[in-house]
Amino acid sequence: MEALIKTQKIKESKVGIAEWQVLSAPARLITLGLGSCVGIAIYDRTFRIGGLAHIMLADSTQFNDKNNRAKFADLAIPDMFNEMVRKGAKRHKMVAKIAGGAQMFSSTDRHLSVLNIGQRNVEMVKNTLKNLNIPIINEDTGGNYGRTLIFDLETGEVHIRVMGRGIKTI
């Protein structure tokens, strides 16, 4: 909380749904209202370069329309990784933190559907990061509530804001 107040003057950049962005410290990357979507924060702690992606769907191979690559976990994460490398980040220095992948809606007949999109998104994010050899050092996923993710590139900390539950840091 203190860290949040102290760094309030630095550059803040918003990452929208189905978008990603790479910045260097000092800056904060923010994505608002993750539901079944997943936020992926990748950080190179030595060069303090960070990327934040807000993906909607797991697997692009299931869809014909891939115009927006940032929408899919399996495309957005490698694209963002490449951009981080282009900006000078090193693969072996990178770590990831992820949040989101909730199931927001409850319904008496929704359990009939086997598809829990949030869970599938989280699984694909984990597989994709594994293939890139980027370890996940912390996560806040699942549940039935929305999350706002604030990624501080100064420290690599990820703050998660949840309605009615305040802020926690992962």
């Binding site: 749904i17 209202g33 979507c37 927001m104 039935n144 309605m163």
Partner: protein, 206 residues
Amino acid sequence: MEEWDMLNNLHIDALREIGNIGAGNAATSLANLLNKRIDMTVPWAGVLPLKEITTLVGKEEEPVACIEFSVSGSIMSKILFLLDESSCYLLIDLLLGRPQGTTKSLDKMGISVLKEVGNVVTGSFLSAFAGFCQMSLKPTVPAFAFDMLGAVLSSAFIEGGYFSDKALVVENGFFGEEIKIKGHFFLIPENEALEKIFNSLGLSLV
């Protein structure tokens, strides 16, 4: 190419008219339920990215309740009924006959009250829509979420099996004159629904 790439002004007007007729009926039924006057805004129809659909309602982190229905029958579509936080509590108080200001958080009882409001509003919207287009339309059991607007709206689409990042929406706003109620009603026709809607009105898509 999506069906909506072929829409012209006449089509948009027809969709707005559906919004008008449907929401008019829905506002009347909500007013009867509450015994208060309820007005609606001029309907909006068009294709929007998900992000901008959020902007139509409010800020991404604003708490809202969303009651979601799938519609089956002559056409497939989705319906979302959104209420801001204070409207939720006020509706619960009014419908449970409690003094205004009693409800300050959502419990099971409150959720079922809101789902019931959703049922009434959606049912009357659909019956007017079905009558206008001479179709038969049935809503499913409602799904419910209460959380940040951004999380709720995006998940309403993807958890409901709608995977495009754009949608054709027919939007109506509701508001109270004597009481502070603010709600939004969205009709989201799914694939192949548009052509059937227009054909039923004697229009064609191409």
